[in-house]
């Protein structure tokens, strides 16, 4: 490696400034892992919610707890981001939007649509 090389010598996660495409990518991973962790809990809730009046009302009770609302918010964001970033990757698989400029625009588009969708969802559900 040349002495004049200015690339980071070690990988300090705080000092790395990811381009927007990289942000879409790392959040795609993080949200995927988060939703994987949620799967057993979803199985538990699905099963309980389908077990008569009592199971259903118990499920609603659990989902309405303050901590659950926090988890639901994280999971909603995860789903929306993962879905939108996934759609972007499908376009890229079909070799659409491969240039540096286009991939930057589509990455921004993911975050913009994500923000609008989350605001809309919040508005529809909470108001």
């Amino acid at each position: 490696m040349a002495a004049t090389d200015s690339r980071p010598f070690f990988l300090n996660l705080i000092k790395i400034r990811l381009p927007v495409q990289g942000m879409v990518s790392i959040f795609h991973r993080v949200t995927g892992v988060l939703m994987f962790i949620a799967i057993p809990f979803m199985a538990w809730l699905l099963d309980m919610s389908l077990q008569g009046e009592q199971g259903f009302s118990h499920t609603i009770e659990i989902l309405s707890a303050p901590f659950s609302l926090f988890v639901i918010a994280i999971m909603t964001w995860s789903l929306v981001h993962h879905l939108l970033a996934g759609i972007r990757y499908l376009f890229i698989d079909f070799e659409l939007g491969l240039s540096k400029q286009q991939s930057r625009y589509s990455a921004w588009l993911v975050f913009i649509i994500e923000f609008i969708l989350l605001v809309l969802l919040f508005w529809v559900v909470c108001l």
């Binding site: 994987f36 699905l46 919610s49």
Partner: protein, 114 residues
């Protein structure tokens, strides 16, 4: 990486096909939820016993678990270089996904049996 069965084009394609199905189902399910809240216990069970919904939910569970296996597998292969730890983690992931899958299928089958 030379573990057999952990690379190649097949998982790549399955990842994409399952993604499309999951995406469509999620949009369908979210629109059902958003238009029919608040749901009662009876309405929720009735919805699930409607054959289109039982079958599409069953397929969703299979697509989700398969998609998830490929994704988490890729993450583990990327970040865990130690072969022993890697295999232990992958085994744990299989157990979690398979167990969750059985649990969700049990819930669907019991709804139909009631």
């Amino acid at each position: 990486m030379s573990s057999p069965g952990l690379q190649g084009l097949r998982p790549w394609i399955i990842q994409r096909i399952s993604a499309v199905y999951i995406g469509l189902f999620v949009i369908y399910f979210a629109s059902v939820l958003l238009t029919s809240l608040p749901l009662s216990a009876g309405e929720w069970r009735l919805w699930m016993t409607w054959p289109v919904n039982t079958i599409s939910t069953g397929l969703f569970i299979i697509a989700l678990l398969w998609h998830c296996w490929i994704g988490i597998r890729d993450v583990v292969l990327d970040y865990v270089p130690n072969v022993v730890v890697r295999m232990m983690l992958l085994t744990l992931v299989v157990c979690v996904l398979f167990g969750s899958g059985l649990w969700m299928m049990k819930a669907l089958i019991l709804v139909l049996a009631q």
